[in-house]
């Protein structure tokens, strides 16, 4: 069981007020808060061990290198990677991870006649890079559709996957909350000879994810959504696959040799980490990964699932048919991401009024315009939970929403 008071006490931002009221932070799907120990780990790094990594011989350079390389283990351990030092690539964010995968693997492996499979619930990060590459290489993109509950339609999966080279799909929708059956999808993809890349931006912070159990090939995720700092993301890839991928961004640190007429790329994650990497950020992310592992993702999930169930009940109780929640109604099929529309009140106005109650939700298309078009809504308001949220936060949401409906009555 999560000890709410103990957990909350570790997040300094929860102590602040907005407009004179204690903050109710319900935007963890956009970015999570950071526990003190993550901030301390970074400050400590800067104050004691900062140096550029690799190549340095002196004490602090060695410490920095060990901290940076060690971060691969901490992150790999959280997701069950088998060979973290050879499989964890540090990027800037999920978006760069996916660009790296699409540009490197896709650029080398796709061409006319090939098929890429995405789902209609993808974040722009898992759509636009494919559209750009498609323009250059001319492959086909197929879209897995969703049903009225916001769940993937998998009846015709074998038809969709026929001839596909890659399935790239989110493990949890950042709009619907839907948790996708990744293990099943991985099996299906492999049956058709396709590899599977998972967008884990929303799943890694909230679900117990084991890349070996799921039998997936690659996964992208962001530090800033999993209690870590901004400025760093992760691409995990099976060792053999990563070894086969050509470089993406290039420069120092990713080469074995450079001449004026060519270069030899390095092996392993280094090949994909051109330039000085986000060192302090890796230290902070490693600390966040350890924090999550200590809490236990099973516990995190249990807490958030119960909270989601409670919030949905309270919301429908209060607003009945005026409230439309997109995505599964059943809390065990979804994460703590509640996208909704409320009567005629536009999402932007909802968010504005909620702000005056210090309740932080996000309005908009949530970087998922194809999904929004499918849902037929221009924007939703989205409340999303993190490990530090409580039933009191859900209550505050409901109360603030009452005010919005009054104003726009």
């Amino acid at each position: 069981m999560i000890d709410e008071a103990r957990v909350r006490a570790q997040f300094p931002l929860l102590k602040r007020e907005l407009h004179g009221k204690p903050i109710v932070y319900l935007d963890s799907a956009a970015s999570s808060l950071q526990p003190q120990r993550v901030l301390d780990a970074m400050t400590n790094y800067y104050e004691h061990s900062h140096a550029n990594v690799h190549r340095g011989v002196y004490g602090t350079a060695e410490e920095a290198t060990n901290l940076y390389e060690g971060a691969r283990r901490a992150v790999g351990s959280l997701i069950g990677a088998k060979h973290s030092p050879q499989e964890i690539v540090f990027t800037k964010n999920t978006t760069e991870s996916i660009n790296l995968f699409v540009g490197s693997w896709g650029g080398a492996n796709l061409g006319p006649g090939d098929v890429v499979v995405l789902s209609i619930m993808e974040h722009h990060a898992n759509i636009v890079p494919w559209l750009v590459l498609q323009e250059r290489l001319g492959f086909e993109i197929r879209w897995i559709q969703i049903d009225a509950q916001g769940e993937l339609i998998l009846e015709d999966l074998d038809t969709v996957l026929a001839g596909a080279k890659v399935l790239s799909i989110t493990a949890m929708s950042n709009v619907l909350g839907t948790i996708n059956p990744i293990a099943e999808l991985a099996q299906a993809a492999h049956r058709h000879g396709a590899i599977i890349h998972v967008d884990g931006a929303q799943s890694v912070p909230h679900l117990s994810v084991d890349v070996v159990d799921l039998d997936i090939d690659l996964m992208s995720f962001s530090s800033h959504k999993m209690l870590g700092p901004t400025g760093i993301g992760v691409l995990w890839a099976r060792r053999e696959l990563l070894t086969s991928m050509p470089p993406f961004l290039t420069g120092g640190g990713m080469i074995l040799d450079v001449r004026t007429d060519g270069f030899i790329p390095a092996d392993g994650p280094a090949r994909f980490e051109a330039g000085t990497p986000p060192i302090a950020e890796a230290v902070g992310l490693a600390e966040a990964a350890r924090f999550l592992e200590e809490l236990g993702l099973e516990e995190v999930r249990a807490h958030e699932e119960a909270l989601t169930a409670y919030a949905l009940d309270r919301l429908f109780e209060a607003f009945g048919d005026d409230l439309v929640v997109h995505g599964p109604r059943n809390p065990d099929r979804r994460g703590g991401v509640i996208s909704f529309t409320l009567g005629d009140v536009h999402a932007h106005d909802i968010a504005q009024i909620l702000d005056s109650h210090a309740v932080c939700v996000r309005p908009g298309h949530h970087c998922a315009k194809p999904l929004m078009r499918h849902l037929g809504v221009p924007a939703t308001a989205r409340a999303s939970f993190g490990i530090y949220n409580t039933q009191a936060d859900a209550d505050a949401l409901v109360e603030a929403l009452r005010d919005a409906t009054k104003l726009f009555a």
Binding site: H348, D349, P363, P378, L407
Partner: protein, 155 residues
């Protein structure tokens, strides 16, 4: 909250609930221009009819929050029937009203200067927006789209 009431004045909610000049003019002959606010997904479609240097008709379509929709509605009422010159002047005045805060966020070569609120009539109701810098883009969406429509129509 006092600020919030400043933002959501009655007149704004009224224009949101009952938008004026709603719809699209047949185009052509009307000039049709779309505007986006990528931040919130708001979309405005402005269609205008120009006759002898006068904006003889204007219609507004699209979807968005109360601020973007009411601002566009207020705008349509304010500019309809005016000479192109006066329309430009109104656009300028309105954008100056919004500038106070926008200049905090974005570089601008125009110095914010005092705006004659009276000359704005009902539009002055939108001044509460400047306390909410994030919403300024909502309020100016229709106006920027109209300015673009005029430009595309060569007016």
């Amino acid at each position: 909250m006092a600020d919030l009431e400043e933002l959501y004045r009655e007149i704004i909610l009224d224009h949101y609930r009952s938008p004026r000049n709603r719809g699209e003019l047949p185009s052509p002959p009307a000039q049709r221009t779309e505007g986006f606010n990528p931040l919130c997904g708001d979309e405005i479609v402005v269609t205008i009819e120009l006759t002898d240097g006068v904006l003889t008709d204007i219609k507004i379509a699209g979807q968005g929050c109360s601020i973007s929709q009411s601002s566009a509605s207020l705008m349509s009422a304010a500019v309809k029937g005016k000479s192109v010159e006066d329309v430009h002047a109104t656009i300028d005045t309105f954008k100056r009203l919004m500038l106070v805060h926008e200049s905090q966020l974005e570089e601008s070569d125009v110095e914010p200067e005092a705006v004659d609120l009276k000359s704005l009539g009902e539009l002055a109701a939108l001044q509460g927006v400047v306390k909410f810098p994030v919403r300024i883009k909502c309020a100016t969406l229709g106006w920027n789209t109209l300015a673009q429509a005029l430009e595309e129509a060569g007016a």
